[in-house]
């Protein structure tokens, strides 16, 4: 079977898988951003209990493997009465894992905003919430965007593990095609190339665009 034949026969299945992978990446990405901001703000809280909760969350998710977390959430959580559908379990686990890594990025970026900015906001009698939203976060976001680009690529790669709980993503389709045709180089090789294209021509340019846009919004572009 020539490679062209392989593509015409199995291309549609790989495309379906790619769409699932992109859906997983977008959902997990949104969740990761939400968790990262929540955990980072909690870590900056004056209350020790709130800080402790955030630290525990971050250390647990950064200290163990994504695969271990995925199996735990998919196979063990139902024993506690929480049963998640495999697609949901998949993007929630990936989002929670990368969110823990993102929290440190967000915290570092917030801390990198010069002290004078905090003091000026205080002098202008802004409420803490307003100071954070209007003054600190816009400047922090510019700092944290480039590392978020790397994190989103890690997240895309992380979604491949979801195939191990039988979510029909790109990785899963490649495995299935390999299982029925034994054309390993073609099936796994094509999947590798698709992942690369999504990362290099999807995620990286979108992040560059966001970086330029956020700089312009701050009037630094």
């Amino acid at each position: 079977m020539s490679y062209i034949e392989f593509l015409t026969t199995y291309g549609p299945r790989l495309m379906t898988g790619t769409l699932i992978t992109i859906a997983l990446t977008v959902l997990a990405g949104l969740l990761a951003v939400a968790i990262a901001f929540a955990a980072a703000l909690m870590k900056l809280s004056p209350s020790m209990v709130v800080r402790g909760i955030a630290t525990t969350y971050i250390e647990i998710f950064r200290g163990t493997s994504l695969l271990v977390q995925l199996y735990w959430i998919f196979f063990v959580l139902p024993l506690f009465g929480i049963t998640l559908e495999k697609f949901t379990a998949g993007y929630i686990t990936v989002g929670m894992n990368l969110g823990a890594y993102g929290a440190e990025l967000v915290r570092g970026a917030i801390k990198s905003v010069p002290r004078g900015q905090w003091e000026a906001a205080l002098a202008l009698n802004m409420s803490p919430a307003k100071r954070m939203i209007r003054i600190i976060l816009p400047q922090a976001i510019v700092v944290m965007l480039p590392p978020w680009g790397n994190l989103f690529i890690e997240l895309l790669k992380g979604t491949a593990l979801v195939s191990l709980i039988a979510v029909a993503d790109l990785m899963f389709q490649a495995k299935q095609i390999n299982g029925s045709t034994f054309l390993s180089a073609q099936s796994f090789g094509t999947a590798l190339i698709i992942y690369y294209i999504v990362a290099r021509f999807g995620i990286t340019p979108s992040m560059r665009w966001l970086e330029r846009r956020s700089l312009r919004m701050l009037g630094r572009g």
């Binding site: 250390e59 199996y71 506690f80």
Partner: protein, 222 residues
């Protein structure tokens, strides 16, 4: 906790600890390969050949932006298609070593680029050979900058070893899975795997930070 059976924990713990040994061996072997291969990748990008630089650069990008688990499958299954049979351990170590070599090459590159230009010029002025310049002048100064990243990836490689279970390397996750399907009990094995990972990665991360500080101090940097 409900349904948590301690007697079952004691029964499976020896097997899990034995598997932890395999996990550690896999992580260290993979890291060893990655350290050497990463240096090759980093130095290949500093040769005068523009084509070599570009090819290696693109290869590193490719490896870094595709999933490790897919690379493991690729290396394991593609060999037999062309008549080369690799054992799970060999293909697993090759995949994980290659993957982290790409990451470490970026760490090395960052470290080498942080060495001031004057050091290169001084080495040239002293008529040192290229090898001597690298090994006696540049790398010792690049190392402290690179150490933080290197430490992070050591912990990273350790946390990625469970992926080797997909091709049947008998590491921790594989063993927990086997216990689960033999006994139909997943709560204890999977929870213990998580605890074992935390028990190793948290102290390691802490030790690496201490080590990094000591190296920086002993080299007279801050």
């Amino acid at each position: 906790m409900f349904d948590w059976r301690w007697d079952f924990v004691w029964e499976i713990l020896p097997r899990l600890i034995w598997a932890t040994g395999n996990t550690l061996i896999a992580a260290l072997l993979g890291y060893g390969i990655a350290m050497v291969l990463g240096l090759v990748f980093a130095l290949a990008q500093r040769t005068p050949s523009r084509i070599l630089t570009m090819v290696v650069r693109e290869l590193v990008e490719f490896i870094r932006s595709t999933p490790l688990v897919l690379q493991i499958f690729f290396i394991f299954y593609v060999g037999p298609q062309f008549g080369i049979r690799l054992s799970p351990w060999v293909s697993g170590m090759a995949a994980i070593g290659l993957h982290y070599a790409a990451y470490l090459s970026e760490v090395y590159r960052g470290g080498i680029e942080a060495v001031p230009r004057g050091q290169w010029e001084a080495a040239t002025a002293l008529n040192l050979s290229t090898a001597r310049t690298y090994f006696r002048v540049i790398i010792p100064q690049a190392l402290p900058t690179a150490l933080a990243g290197m430490g992070n990836y050591l912990v990273g490689i350790f946390k990625d070893t469970p992926m080797l279970s997909v091709i049947g390397v008998a590491e921790l996750m594989h063993t927990a899975n086997a216990i689960g399907s033999e006994s139909y009990r997943f709560l204890e094995p999977f929870t213990l795997v998580g605890v074992i990972f935390l028990a190793i990665s948290l102290p390691t991360a802490w030790l690496i930070r201490v080590f990094e500080r000591r190296v920086r101090r002993s080299l007279g940097m801050n």
